[in-house]
Protein backbone atom coordinates (compact mmCIF):
# COMPACT_ATOMS: atom_id res chain seq x y z
CA UNK A 1 0.00 0.00 0.00
CA UNK A 2 1.20 3.49 -0.81
CA UNK A 3 0.35 6.55 1.25
CA UNK A 4 -2.52 8.39 -0.42
CA UNK A 5 -3.66 5.34 -2.39
CA UNK A 6 -7.45 4.82 -2.31
CA UNK A 7 -8.20 1.29 -1.16
CA UNK A 8 -11.43 -0.11 0.21
CA UNK A 9 -11.00 -1.24 3.82
CA UNK A 10 -13.23 -4.20 3.07
CA UNK A 11 -10.66 -5.39 0.53
CA UNK A 12 -7.86 -4.88 3.03
CA UNK A 13 -9.88 -6.84 5.55
CA UNK A 14 -10.45 -9.73 3.16
CA UNK A 15 -6.76 -9.91 2.25
CA UNK A 16 -5.69 -9.75 5.88
CA UNK A 17 -7.98 -12.66 6.72
CA UNK A 18 -6.38 -14.75 3.98
CA UNK A 19 -2.88 -13.96 5.23
CA UNK A 20 -3.97 -14.65 8.80
CA UNK A 21 -5.57 -17.90 7.74
CA UNK A 22 -2.27 -19.07 6.38
CA UNK A 23 -0.57 -18.48 9.72
CA UNK A 24 -3.30 -19.54 12.12
CA UNK A 25 -5.14 -22.79 11.47
CA UNK A 26 -7.69 -22.08 14.16
CA UNK A 27 -9.09 -19.07 12.32
CA UNK A 28 -12.37 -19.95 10.61
CA UNK A 29 -14.81 -17.68 8.80
CA UNK A 30 -18.60 -17.58 8.78
CA UNK A 31 -20.58 -15.97 5.95
CA UNK A 32 -24.24 -15.41 5.20
CA UNK A 33 -24.08 -15.22 1.41
CA UNK A 34 -22.40 -11.80 1.28
CA UNK A 35 -18.79 -12.93 1.00
CA UNK A 36 -18.45 -11.33 -2.42
CA UNK A 37 -19.31 -8.00 -0.80
CA UNK A 38 -17.62 -8.30 2.59
CA UNK A 39 -14.60 -9.89 0.90
CA UNK A 40 -14.56 -12.91 3.18
CA UNK A 41 -15.01 -14.74 -0.10
CA UNK A 42 -11.24 -14.40 -0.53
CA UNK A 43 -10.74 -16.57 2.57
CA UNK A 44 -13.37 -18.94 1.25
CA UNK A 45 -11.44 -19.38 -1.99
CA UNK A 46 -8.15 -19.93 -0.14
CA UNK A 47 -9.42 -22.21 2.62
CA UNK A 48 -12.77 -23.65 1.58
CA UNK A 49 -12.89 -26.19 4.40
CA UNK A 50 -12.59 -23.42 6.99
CA UNK A 51 -15.23 -21.22 5.41
CA UNK A 52 -18.75 -21.85 6.65
CA UNK A 53 -21.52 -20.77 4.33
CA UNK A 54 -24.55 -20.42 6.58
CA UNK A 55 -26.99 -18.99 4.08
CA UNK A 56 -29.04 -15.83 4.64
CA UNK A 57 -29.65 -16.73 8.28
CA UNK A 58 -27.62 -14.40 10.42
CA UNK A 59 -28.97 -15.49 13.78
CA UNK A 60 -28.05 -19.11 13.18
CA UNK A 61 -24.69 -18.00 11.79
CA UNK A 62 -23.83 -16.05 14.93
CA UNK A 63 -24.97 -18.88 17.18
CA UNK A 64 -22.94 -21.42 15.26
CA UNK A 65 -19.83 -19.25 15.52
CA UNK A 66 -20.29 -19.13 19.28
CA UNK A 67 -20.55 -22.89 19.49
CA UNK A 68 -17.49 -23.30 17.32
CA UNK A 69 -15.45 -20.97 19.50
CA UNK A 70 -16.01 -23.31 22.45
CA UNK A 71 -13.93 -25.85 20.53
CA UNK A 72 -10.88 -23.57 20.57
CA UNK A 73 -11.34 -22.02 17.13
CA UNK A 74 -11.30 -18.26 16.47
CA UNK A 75 -14.27 -17.52 14.26
CA UNK A 76 -14.53 -14.32 12.21
CA UNK A 77 -18.20 -13.70 11.47
CA UNK A 78 -18.86 -11.17 8.77
CA UNK A 79 -21.90 -9.60 7.25
CA UNK A 80 -23.31 -6.12 6.74
CA UNK A 81 -23.25 -4.10 9.95
CA UNK A 82 -27.02 -3.50 9.77
CA UNK A 83 -27.70 -7.22 9.87
CA UNK A 84 -24.97 -8.30 12.24
CA UNK A 85 -25.50 -5.62 14.86
CA UNK A 86 -29.26 -5.49 14.62
CA UNK A 87 -30.81 -8.65 13.27
CA UNK A 88 -28.44 -10.91 15.20
CA UNK A 89 -27.93 -8.66 18.22
CA UNK A 90 -29.63 -11.00 20.68
CA UNK A 91 -27.47 -13.88 19.53
CA UNK A 92 -24.37 -11.70 19.93
CA UNK A 93 -25.59 -10.70 23.37
CA UNK A 94 -26.56 -14.08 24.81
CA UNK A 95 -24.35 -16.54 22.94
CA UNK A 96 -21.16 -14.47 22.61
CA UNK A 97 -20.92 -11.38 24.82
CA UNK A 98 -22.52 -12.75 27.98
CA UNK A 99 -20.29 -15.85 28.11
CA UNK A 100 -17.29 -13.83 26.75
CA UNK A 101 -16.70 -16.23 23.90
CA UNK A 102 -13.78 -15.60 21.56
CA UNK A 103 -15.69 -14.57 18.45
CA UNK A 104 -14.68 -11.71 16.15
CA UNK A 105 -17.49 -9.84 14.46
CA UNK A 106 -16.99 -7.83 11.29
CA UNK A 107 -19.68 -5.25 10.66
CA UNK A 108 -19.12 -4.64 6.96
CA UNK A 109 -20.56 -1.77 4.93
CA UNK A 110 -20.50 0.45 7.99
CA UNK A 111 -22.42 3.70 7.72
CA UNK A 112 -23.38 5.36 4.47
CA UNK A 113 -21.23 3.78 1.73
CA UNK A 114 -23.28 0.82 0.57
CA UNK A 115 -23.35 1.21 -3.20
CA UNK A 116 -26.47 3.39 -3.07
CA UNK A 117 -28.44 0.62 -1.38
CA UNK A 118 -30.21 3.11 0.87
CA UNK A 119 -31.43 3.23 4.43
CA UNK A 120 -32.11 -0.44 5.07
CA UNK A 121 -28.47 -1.28 4.36
CA UNK A 122 -26.80 1.79 5.87
CA UNK A 123 -25.97 1.14 9.50
CA UNK A 124 -25.87 4.41 11.41
CA UNK A 125 -26.45 2.82 14.79
CA UNK A 126 -24.06 -0.12 15.02
CA UNK A 127 -21.29 1.61 16.96
CA UNK A 128 -23.82 2.73 19.56
CA UNK A 129 -25.35 -0.71 19.85
CA UNK A 130 -22.09 -2.60 20.07
CA UNK A 131 -20.53 -0.07 22.43
CA UNK A 132 -23.28 -0.63 24.94
CA UNK A 133 -22.74 -4.38 24.88
CA UNK A 134 -20.84 -5.56 27.97
CA UNK A 135 -17.64 -7.53 27.29
CA UNK A 136 -17.41 -6.16 23.72
CA UNK A 137 -14.36 -4.45 22.21
CA UNK A 138 -15.26 -2.07 19.35
CA UNK A 139 -12.79 -0.93 16.69
CA UNK A 140 -13.25 1.36 13.67
CA UNK A 141 -9.95 1.49 11.77
CA UNK A 142 -9.03 4.74 10.03
CA UNK A 143 -7.59 3.37 6.83
CA UNK A 144 -6.90 0.12 4.95
CA UNK A 145 -3.47 -0.33 6.51
CA UNK A 146 -4.79 -0.01 10.03
CA UNK A 147 -7.68 -2.31 9.12
CA UNK A 148 -5.20 -5.09 8.46
CA UNK A 149 -3.35 -4.43 11.68
CA UNK A 150 -6.63 -4.50 13.55
CA UNK A 151 -7.55 -7.89 12.10
CA UNK A 152 -4.36 -9.32 13.55
CA UNK A 153 -4.66 -7.50 16.86
CA UNK A 154 -8.27 -8.55 17.42
CA UNK A 155 -7.50 -12.14 16.50
CA UNK A 156 -4.74 -12.22 19.12
CA UNK A 157 -7.01 -10.56 21.66
CA UNK A 158 -9.06 -13.06 23.67
CA UNK A 159 -12.72 -12.16 23.89
CA UNK A 160 -15.63 -10.81 21.87
CA UNK A 161 -14.72 -8.04 19.41
CA UNK A 162 -16.41 -5.94 16.72
CA UNK A 163 -14.50 -4.55 13.74
CA UNK A 164 -16.22 -2.07 11.45
CA UNK A 165 -15.19 -1.91 7.79
CA UNK A 166 -16.47 0.22 4.94
CA UNK A 167 -17.16 -0.49 1.30
CA UNK A 168 -15.70 2.55 -0.42
CA UNK A 169 -12.10 3.55 -1.09
CA UNK A 170 -10.38 5.36 1.77
CA UNK A 171 -6.97 7.04 1.45
CA UNK A 172 -4.07 5.19 3.03
CA UNK A 173 -2.76 7.51 5.74
CA UNK A 174 -0.69 5.04 7.78
CA UNK A 175 2.45 3.16 6.93
CA UNK A 176 4.89 0.80 8.61
CA UNK A 177 5.60 3.35 11.35
CA UNK A 178 2.04 3.02 12.61
CA UNK A 179 1.30 0.36 15.17
CA UNK A 180 -2.34 -0.24 15.97
CA UNK A 181 -3.02 -1.21 19.56
CA UNK A 182 -6.44 -1.87 21.00
CA UNK A 183 -7.49 1.00 23.27
CA UNK A 184 -4.92 3.50 22.04
CA UNK A 185 -5.62 6.79 20.30
CA UNK A 186 -3.20 8.55 17.95
CA UNK A 187 -2.57 12.31 17.89
CA UNK A 188 -1.92 12.95 14.22
CA UNK A 189 -1.63 16.75 14.59
CA UNK A 190 -0.65 18.72 17.66
CA UNK A 191 -2.54 21.86 18.54
CA UNK A 192 -4.26 23.78 21.29
CA UNK A 193 -6.98 25.87 19.64
CA UNK A 194 -9.48 23.07 19.17
CA UNK A 195 -9.53 19.27 19.05
CA UNK A 196 -10.98 17.19 16.25
CA UNK A 197 -11.51 13.52 17.06
CA UNK A 198 -12.17 11.19 14.18
CA UNK A 199 -12.80 7.47 13.85
CA UNK A 200 -13.08 5.10 10.94
CA UNK A 201 -13.17 6.60 7.47
CA UNK A 202 -13.75 10.10 8.92
CA UNK A 203 -10.21 10.25 10.29
CA UNK A 204 -8.66 11.03 6.89
CA UNK A 205 -11.23 13.81 6.45
CA UNK A 206 -10.56 15.14 9.94
CA UNK A 207 -6.84 15.08 9.20
CA UNK A 208 -7.41 16.95 5.96
CA UNK A 209 -9.44 19.54 7.88
CA UNK A 210 -6.75 19.97 10.54
CA UNK A 211 -4.07 20.55 7.90
CA UNK A 212 -6.23 23.13 6.13
CA UNK A 213 -7.03 24.88 9.43
CA UNK A 214 -3.34 25.19 10.13
CA UNK A 215 -2.91 27.07 6.85
CA UNK A 216 -5.61 29.42 8.07
CA UNK A 217 -3.85 30.00 11.38
CA UNK A 218 -5.88 27.67 13.56
CA UNK A 219 -3.88 25.01 15.35
CA UNK A 220 -6.22 22.01 15.64
CA UNK A 221 -5.22 18.92 17.58
CA UNK A 222 -6.33 15.96 15.51
CA UNK A 223 -6.82 12.70 17.38
CA UNK A 224 -7.56 9.46 15.59
CA UNK A 225 -9.60 7.18 17.85
CA UNK A 226 -9.95 3.75 16.25
CA UNK A 227 -10.95 1.98 19.46
CA UNK A 228 -14.35 3.16 20.59
CA UNK A 229 -14.37 0.67 23.42
CA UNK A 230 -12.26 0.64 25.54
CA UNK A 231 -11.84 4.35 24.89
CA UNK A 232 -8.61 6.29 25.51
CA UNK A 233 -10.19 8.55 28.11
CA UNK A 234 -6.91 10.16 29.10
CA UNK A 235 -6.42 11.63 25.63
CA UNK A 236 -9.93 13.08 25.67
CA UNK A 237 -9.55 14.63 29.12
CA UNK A 238 -6.18 16.09 28.13
CA UNK A 239 -7.66 17.53 24.96
CA UNK A 240 -10.50 19.10 26.89
CA UNK A 241 -8.19 20.74 29.41
CA UNK A 242 -5.66 21.86 26.84
CA UNK A 243 -7.84 22.96 23.94
CA UNK A 244 -11.27 23.73 25.40
CA UNK A 245 -13.33 22.72 22.35
CA UNK A 246 -13.83 19.26 20.89
CA UNK A 247 -15.40 18.21 17.59
CA UNK A 248 -16.11 14.54 16.92
CA UNK A 249 -16.80 13.25 13.44
CA UNK A 250 -18.06 9.80 12.44
CA UNK A 251 -19.76 7.88 9.64
CA UNK A 252 -22.57 7.13 12.11
CA UNK A 253 -25.40 8.76 14.02
CA UNK A 254 -24.62 11.69 16.30
CA UNK A 255 -26.22 9.56 18.99
CA UNK A 256 -24.34 7.00 20.97
CA UNK A 257 -21.28 6.41 18.83
CA UNK A 258 -17.93 8.16 19.03
CA UNK A 259 -19.60 11.45 19.92
CA UNK A 260 -21.75 9.90 22.60
CA UNK A 261 -18.80 8.07 24.11
CA UNK A 262 -16.66 11.22 24.16
CA UNK A 263 -19.55 13.15 25.73
CA UNK A 264 -19.70 10.62 28.54
CA UNK A 265 -16.00 11.00 29.26
CA UNK A 266 -16.13 14.80 29.15
CA UNK A 267 -19.16 15.22 31.38
CA UNK A 268 -17.67 12.84 33.93
CA UNK A 269 -14.11 14.15 34.01
CA UNK A 270 -13.58 17.40 32.11
CA UNK A 271 -16.59 19.15 30.66
CA UNK A 272 -16.04 21.34 27.63
CA UNK A 273 -17.96 22.37 24.54
CA UNK A 274 -18.50 19.32 22.31
CA UNK A 275 -19.86 19.34 18.76
CA UNK A 276 -20.81 15.92 17.43
CA UNK A 277 -20.72 15.67 13.65
CA UNK A 278 -22.62 12.67 12.34
CA UNK A 279 -26.07 11.79 11.13
CA UNK A 280 -28.70 13.73 13.08
CA UNK A 281 -30.88 10.86 14.35
CA UNK A 282 -31.93 10.01 10.82
CA UNK A 283 -31.67 7.12 8.43
CA UNK A 284 -29.41 7.20 5.41
CA UNK A 285 -30.63 7.30 1.84
CA UNK A 286 -29.59 6.31 -1.65
CA UNK A 287 -27.20 8.55 -3.49
CA UNK A 288 -23.58 9.34 -4.04
CA UNK A 289 -21.65 8.85 -0.78
CA UNK A 290 -20.06 12.28 -0.72
CA UNK A 291 -23.37 13.96 -1.57
CA UNK A 292 -25.00 12.27 1.40
CA UNK A 293 -22.13 13.10 3.74
CA UNK A 294 -22.29 16.72 2.60
CA UNK A 295 -26.06 16.86 3.00
CA UNK A 296 -25.59 16.13 6.70
CA UNK A 297 -22.39 18.05 7.29
CA UNK A 298 -20.21 15.00 7.77
CA UNK A 299 -17.33 16.19 5.61
CA UNK A 300 -14.06 18.08 5.61
CA UNK A 301 -15.67 21.44 4.77
CA UNK A 302 -18.03 21.28 7.72
CA UNK A 303 -15.31 20.17 10.12
CA UNK A 304 -13.34 23.26 9.10
CA UNK A 305 -16.39 25.54 9.34
CA UNK A 306 -17.29 24.13 12.75
CA UNK A 307 -13.78 24.60 14.08
CA UNK A 308 -13.66 28.18 12.83
CA UNK A 309 -17.03 28.98 14.40
CA UNK A 310 -15.81 27.64 17.74
CA UNK A 311 -12.52 29.46 17.92
CA UNK A 312 -13.67 32.60 16.18
Amino acid sequence: MQLGEMIAPRAAFGEALVELGGKNEDVVVFDSDVGASTQTGLFGAAYPDRFYQMGIAEQNMVGASAGMSTMGFTPWVSTFAVFLAKRAIDQIRVSIAYPKLNVKLNGAYGGIPTGKAGATHQSVEDIAVMRCMPHMTVVCPGDPYETQQAVYALTDFVGPAYLRTVRCGVPVIFDGKHKFEIGRSYTLCEGSDVTIIGTGMMTPKALEAALELEKQGIKARMIHMPTIKPMDEEAIVKASKETGHIITVENHSQLGGLGGAVAEVLTTHAPCRLTRLGFPDCFGESGDNEAIFSKFGVNTENIIATAKSLVG
Binding site: V28, R50, Y52, M54, G55, A57, Q59, N60, M61, V62, G63, A64, S65, A66, G67, M68, S69, T70, M71, G72, F73, D90, Q91, R93, V94, S95, Y98, P99, K100
Partner: protein, 285 residues
Protein backbone atom coordinates in the same frame (compact mmCIF):
# COMPACT_ATOMS: atom_id res chain seq x y z
CA UNK B 1 -33.84 -43.86 8.43
CA UNK B 2 -31.20 -46.53 9.00
CA UNK B 3 -32.65 -49.85 10.10
CA UNK B 4 -29.50 -51.00 11.88
CA UNK B 5 -29.94 -48.79 14.94
CA UNK B 6 -31.74 -51.23 17.17
CA UNK B 7 -30.98 -50.92 20.87
CA UNK B 8 -30.98 -53.21 23.85
CA UNK B 9 -33.70 -53.05 26.49
CA UNK B 10 -32.64 -51.43 29.73
CA UNK B 11 -32.35 -53.95 32.64
CA UNK B 12 -35.01 -53.64 35.34
CA UNK B 13 -32.65 -52.79 38.16
CA UNK B 14 -31.23 -49.93 36.15
CA UNK B 15 -34.73 -48.68 35.36
CA UNK B 16 -35.56 -48.66 39.08
CA UNK B 17 -32.39 -46.81 39.90
CA UNK B 18 -33.09 -44.16 37.30
CA UNK B 19 -36.68 -43.81 38.53
CA UNK B 20 -35.37 -43.24 42.03
CA UNK B 21 -33.01 -40.56 40.67
CA UNK B 22 -35.96 -38.90 38.93
CA UNK B 23 -37.90 -38.86 42.20
CA UNK B 24 -34.93 -37.33 43.94
CA UNK B 25 -34.43 -34.66 41.27
CA UNK B 26 -38.13 -33.78 41.34
CA UNK B 27 -38.04 -33.21 45.08
CA UNK B 28 -34.91 -31.12 44.76
CA UNK B 29 -36.66 -28.97 42.14
CA UNK B 30 -39.60 -28.30 44.45
CA UNK B 31 -37.29 -27.43 47.34
CA UNK B 32 -34.98 -25.25 45.24
CA UNK B 33 -37.81 -23.20 43.77
CA UNK B 34 -39.57 -22.97 47.12
CA UNK B 35 -36.41 -21.70 48.85
CA UNK B 36 -35.79 -19.07 46.21
CA UNK B 37 -39.51 -18.27 45.91
CA UNK B 38 -39.03 -18.07 42.16
CA UNK B 39 -38.24 -20.39 39.29
CA UNK B 40 -39.85 -22.19 36.39
CA UNK B 41 -41.59 -25.11 38.02
CA UNK B 42 -43.70 -26.67 35.26
CA UNK B 43 -40.96 -26.92 32.66
CA UNK B 44 -38.40 -28.12 35.20
CA UNK B 45 -40.65 -31.00 36.23
CA UNK B 46 -41.50 -31.98 32.64
CA UNK B 47 -37.84 -32.40 31.66
CA UNK B 48 -36.69 -34.61 34.55
CA UNK B 49 -36.65 -38.00 32.80
CA UNK B 50 -34.92 -36.43 29.79
CA UNK B 51 -32.17 -34.89 31.91
CA UNK B 52 -31.71 -37.95 34.08
CA UNK B 53 -31.52 -40.19 31.04
CA UNK B 54 -28.85 -37.89 29.57
CA UNK B 55 -26.70 -37.37 32.63
CA UNK B 56 -27.04 -40.80 34.16
CA UNK B 57 -26.94 -42.92 31.04
CA UNK B 58 -26.67 -41.49 27.57
CA UNK B 59 -23.91 -38.90 27.82
CA UNK B 60 -20.18 -39.54 27.94
CA UNK B 61 -19.25 -37.10 30.71
CA UNK B 62 -17.13 -36.83 33.83
CA UNK B 63 -18.41 -34.55 36.60
CA UNK B 64 -14.91 -34.35 38.07
CA UNK B 65 -13.69 -33.00 34.72
CA UNK B 66 -16.46 -30.81 33.34
CA UNK B 67 -14.24 -29.59 30.48
CA UNK B 68 -13.15 -33.08 29.43
CA UNK B 69 -12.07 -32.73 25.82
CA UNK B 70 -14.18 -35.22 23.90
CA UNK B 71 -17.17 -35.26 26.23
CA UNK B 72 -20.73 -35.19 25.00
CA UNK B 73 -22.26 -31.74 25.27
CA UNK B 74 -25.67 -30.66 26.48
CA UNK B 75 -27.38 -27.35 25.83
CA UNK B 76 -30.48 -26.40 27.78
CA UNK B 77 -31.90 -24.20 25.05
CA UNK B 78 -35.05 -23.76 27.13
CA UNK B 79 -32.80 -22.07 29.67
CA UNK B 80 -35.57 -20.88 31.97
CA UNK B 81 -35.99 -24.48 33.16
CA UNK B 82 -32.68 -24.15 34.96
CA UNK B 83 -33.89 -25.60 38.28
CA UNK B 84 -34.38 -28.98 36.63
CA UNK B 85 -30.94 -28.70 35.07
CA UNK B 86 -29.15 -27.57 38.23
CA UNK B 87 -30.78 -30.28 40.34
CA UNK B 88 -29.67 -32.90 37.83
CA UNK B 89 -26.12 -31.53 37.71
CA UNK B 90 -25.94 -31.47 41.51
CA UNK B 91 -27.28 -34.99 41.77
CA UNK B 92 -24.73 -36.12 39.19
CA UNK B 93 -21.88 -34.62 41.18
CA UNK B 94 -20.92 -31.45 39.29
CA UNK B 95 -21.30 -29.43 42.46
CA UNK B 96 -22.62 -29.94 45.95
CA UNK B 97 -26.37 -29.86 46.42
CA UNK B 98 -25.87 -27.20 49.12
CA UNK B 99 -25.40 -24.71 46.28
CA UNK B 100 -29.03 -25.12 45.26
CA UNK B 101 -30.02 -23.03 48.27
CA UNK B 102 -28.40 -20.05 46.52
CA UNK B 103 -30.34 -20.43 43.28
CA UNK B 104 -31.28 -16.98 41.94
CA UNK B 105 -29.56 -15.25 44.88
CA UNK B 106 -27.11 -12.41 44.36
CA UNK B 107 -23.56 -13.52 43.49
CA UNK B 108 -24.82 -17.07 43.11
CA UNK B 109 -23.12 -19.74 41.07
CA UNK B 110 -26.62 -20.65 39.96
CA UNK B 111 -28.12 -17.89 37.89
CA UNK B 112 -31.76 -17.75 36.80
CA UNK B 113 -30.69 -18.96 33.37
CA UNK B 114 -27.62 -21.15 32.77
CA UNK B 115 -24.27 -19.38 32.74
CA UNK B 116 -21.31 -21.34 31.39
CA UNK B 117 -18.83 -19.14 33.20
CA UNK B 118 -20.34 -19.45 36.67
CA UNK B 119 -21.64 -23.01 36.78
CA UNK B 120 -19.51 -26.16 36.40
CA UNK B 121 -21.03 -28.54 33.90
CA UNK B 122 -22.87 -25.92 31.82
CA UNK B 123 -21.66 -26.16 28.23
CA UNK B 124 -23.42 -23.07 26.87
CA UNK B 125 -25.12 -20.03 28.32
CA UNK B 126 -28.76 -19.76 27.36
CA UNK B 127 -31.89 -17.93 28.35
CA UNK B 128 -33.14 -16.11 25.30
CA UNK B 129 -35.10 -18.78 23.48
CA UNK B 130 -34.19 -20.34 20.19
CA UNK B 131 -30.41 -20.18 20.37
CA UNK B 132 -29.37 -23.66 21.51
CA UNK B 133 -29.66 -25.53 18.22
CA UNK B 134 -27.40 -22.97 16.53
CA UNK B 135 -24.71 -23.10 19.20
CA UNK B 136 -25.03 -26.88 19.13
CA UNK B 137 -24.40 -26.86 15.38
CA UNK B 138 -21.27 -24.79 16.02
CA UNK B 139 -19.99 -27.31 18.56
CA UNK B 140 -20.44 -30.09 16.03
CA UNK B 141 -18.74 -28.05 13.29
CA UNK B 142 -15.81 -27.62 15.63
CA UNK B 143 -15.90 -31.26 16.63
CA UNK B 144 -15.86 -32.35 13.02
CA UNK B 145 -12.82 -30.15 12.36
CA UNK B 146 -11.04 -31.68 15.34
CA UNK B 147 -11.99 -35.23 14.31
CA UNK B 148 -14.04 -35.67 17.49
CA UNK B 149 -17.41 -37.38 17.20
CA UNK B 150 -19.00 -36.46 20.52
CA UNK B 151 -22.76 -35.98 20.58
CA UNK B 152 -24.42 -32.63 21.21
CA UNK B 153 -27.83 -32.86 22.84
CA UNK B 154 -30.02 -29.75 22.75
CA UNK B 155 -33.21 -29.59 24.80
CA UNK B 156 -35.79 -27.17 23.44
CA UNK B 157 -39.22 -26.29 24.75
CA UNK B 158 -42.29 -26.58 22.55
CA UNK B 159 -43.22 -22.91 22.97
CA UNK B 160 -39.60 -22.16 22.22
CA UNK B 161 -39.99 -23.84 18.83
CA UNK B 162 -42.06 -20.82 17.79
CA UNK B 163 -38.80 -18.81 17.63
CA UNK B 164 -37.62 -18.49 14.04
CA UNK B 165 -33.94 -19.03 14.76
CA UNK B 166 -34.67 -22.66 15.58
CA UNK B 167 -35.84 -23.18 12.03
CA UNK B 168 -32.75 -21.55 10.56
CA UNK B 169 -30.72 -24.05 12.56
CA UNK B 170 -32.97 -26.98 11.65
CA UNK B 171 -32.75 -26.04 7.97
CA UNK B 172 -28.97 -25.79 8.14
CA UNK B 173 -28.44 -29.06 10.01
CA UNK B 174 -30.80 -30.92 7.72
CA UNK B 175 -29.27 -29.53 4.55
CA UNK B 176 -25.70 -30.12 5.70
CA UNK B 177 -26.51 -33.44 7.42
CA UNK B 178 -24.88 -32.29 10.64
CA UNK B 179 -23.92 -35.51 12.36
CA UNK B 180 -23.85 -35.88 16.12
CA UNK B 181 -26.62 -33.32 16.73
CA UNK B 182 -29.65 -34.51 18.67
CA UNK B 183 -32.46 -32.07 19.34
CA UNK B 184 -34.95 -33.07 22.02
CA UNK B 185 -38.31 -31.35 22.25
CA UNK B 186 -39.88 -31.26 25.70
CA UNK B 187 -43.32 -31.51 24.16
CA UNK B 188 -45.50 -30.75 27.17
CA UNK B 189 -47.93 -28.71 25.06
CA UNK B 190 -48.25 -25.91 27.62
CA UNK B 191 -46.45 -22.58 27.58
CA UNK B 192 -46.61 -19.37 29.58
CA UNK B 193 -50.10 -18.03 28.99
CA UNK B 194 -51.89 -21.07 27.62
CA UNK B 195 -51.55 -24.36 25.81
CA UNK B 196 -49.34 -24.54 22.77
CA UNK B 197 -52.29 -25.30 20.45
CA UNK B 198 -54.02 -22.17 21.77
CA UNK B 199 -50.98 -19.89 21.45
CA UNK B 200 -49.46 -21.11 18.18
CA UNK B 201 -49.77 -24.72 17.14
CA UNK B 202 -46.63 -26.60 16.15
CA UNK B 203 -48.40 -29.59 14.64
CA UNK B 204 -47.44 -31.58 12.75
CA UNK B 205 -44.06 -31.21 14.46
CA UNK B 206 -42.68 -34.55 13.36
CA UNK B 207 -43.53 -33.82 9.72
CA UNK B 208 -41.85 -30.44 9.95
CA UNK B 209 -38.58 -31.91 11.19
CA UNK B 210 -38.73 -34.62 8.53
CA UNK B 211 -39.38 -32.05 5.82
CA UNK B 212 -36.22 -30.25 6.95
CA UNK B 213 -34.19 -33.43 6.57
CA UNK B 214 -34.01 -34.69 10.14
CA UNK B 215 -34.63 -38.21 11.39
CA UNK B 216 -37.42 -38.15 13.96
CA UNK B 217 -38.00 -40.38 16.94
CA UNK B 218 -40.76 -40.09 19.52
CA UNK B 219 -41.03 -41.35 23.06
CA UNK B 220 -43.07 -41.16 26.22
CA UNK B 221 -41.05 -38.47 27.98
CA UNK B 222 -41.82 -39.87 31.43
CA UNK B 223 -41.12 -43.54 30.75
CA UNK B 224 -37.44 -43.56 31.66
CA UNK B 225 -36.76 -46.83 29.86
CA UNK B 226 -38.38 -45.49 26.69
CA UNK B 227 -36.42 -42.24 26.98
CA UNK B 228 -33.10 -44.05 27.47
CA UNK B 229 -33.68 -46.49 24.64
CA UNK B 230 -34.77 -43.68 22.31
CA UNK B 231 -31.62 -41.73 23.12
CA UNK B 232 -29.43 -44.73 22.32
CA UNK B 233 -31.22 -45.14 19.00
CA UNK B 234 -30.80 -41.42 18.33
CA UNK B 235 -27.06 -41.56 18.97
CA UNK B 236 -26.76 -44.31 16.43
CA UNK B 237 -28.91 -42.55 13.82
CA UNK B 238 -27.05 -39.28 14.42
CA UNK B 239 -23.94 -40.76 12.85
CA UNK B 240 -25.43 -39.85 9.49
CA UNK B 241 -27.35 -36.67 10.23
CA UNK B 242 -29.34 -34.69 12.79
CA UNK B 243 -31.99 -36.42 14.86
CA UNK B 244 -35.02 -34.96 16.63
CA UNK B 245 -36.54 -36.70 19.61
CA UNK B 246 -40.07 -35.55 20.31
CA UNK B 247 -40.57 -36.40 23.97
CA UNK B 248 -44.23 -36.37 24.92
CA UNK B 249 -44.28 -34.91 28.39
CA UNK B 250 -46.56 -33.27 30.93
CA UNK B 251 -45.87 -29.82 32.26
CA UNK B 252 -45.53 -30.06 36.04
CA UNK B 253 -45.23 -33.83 35.91
CA UNK B 254 -45.28 -35.55 39.28
CA UNK B 255 -47.43 -33.01 41.10
CA UNK B 256 -51.12 -33.49 40.38
CA UNK B 257 -52.19 -29.86 40.97
CA UNK B 258 -49.42 -28.60 38.67
CA UNK B 259 -49.82 -31.04 35.80
CA UNK B 260 -50.88 -29.49 32.52
CA UNK B 261 -51.33 -26.04 34.04
CA UNK B 262 -49.81 -22.95 32.38
CA UNK B 263 -50.23 -21.15 35.70
CA UNK B 264 -47.36 -23.25 37.00
CA UNK B 265 -45.00 -22.18 34.21
CA UNK B 266 -43.11 -19.77 36.44
CA UNK B 267 -44.77 -19.93 39.84
CA UNK B 268 -43.11 -20.98 43.07
CA UNK B 269 -45.06 -23.20 45.49
CA UNK B 270 -45.97 -21.90 48.94
CA UNK B 271 -45.26 -23.94 52.09
CA UNK B 272 -48.45 -25.94 51.93
CA UNK B 273 -48.09 -26.64 48.22
CA UNK B 274 -44.47 -27.66 48.72
CA UNK B 275 -45.43 -30.21 51.38
CA UNK B 276 -48.19 -31.66 49.19
CA UNK B 277 -45.90 -31.78 46.17
CA UNK B 278 -43.10 -33.57 48.00
CA UNK B 279 -45.53 -36.10 49.42
CA UNK B 280 -46.96 -36.86 46.00
CA UNK B 281 -43.53 -37.30 44.45
CA UNK B 282 -42.47 -39.60 47.26
CA UNK B 283 -45.47 -41.82 46.88
CA UNK B 284 -45.19 -42.08 43.12
CA UNK B 285 -44.12 -45.04 40.97
Amino acid sequence: MSCCCETKKLPDDEIQELKQTCRCVRKMIINTIFDAQCGHTGGSLSEVEILVALYFHAMNIDPSDPDMADRDRFILSKGHSSPGYYCTLANRGYFHADKLADFDAIDSMLQGHPCMIKTPGVDMSTGSLGQGLSTGIGMRLGGARRGEDFSVFVLVGDGEMQEGQNWEAIMYAGAKKTAGLIGIVDYNKVQLTGTTPEILSLDPLDEKFKAFGWDVLECDGHDIADVVETMEKAKCLAKSGPVAIIAHTVKGKGVSFMEGKFQWHGKAPNEEEKVRALAEIDSCC
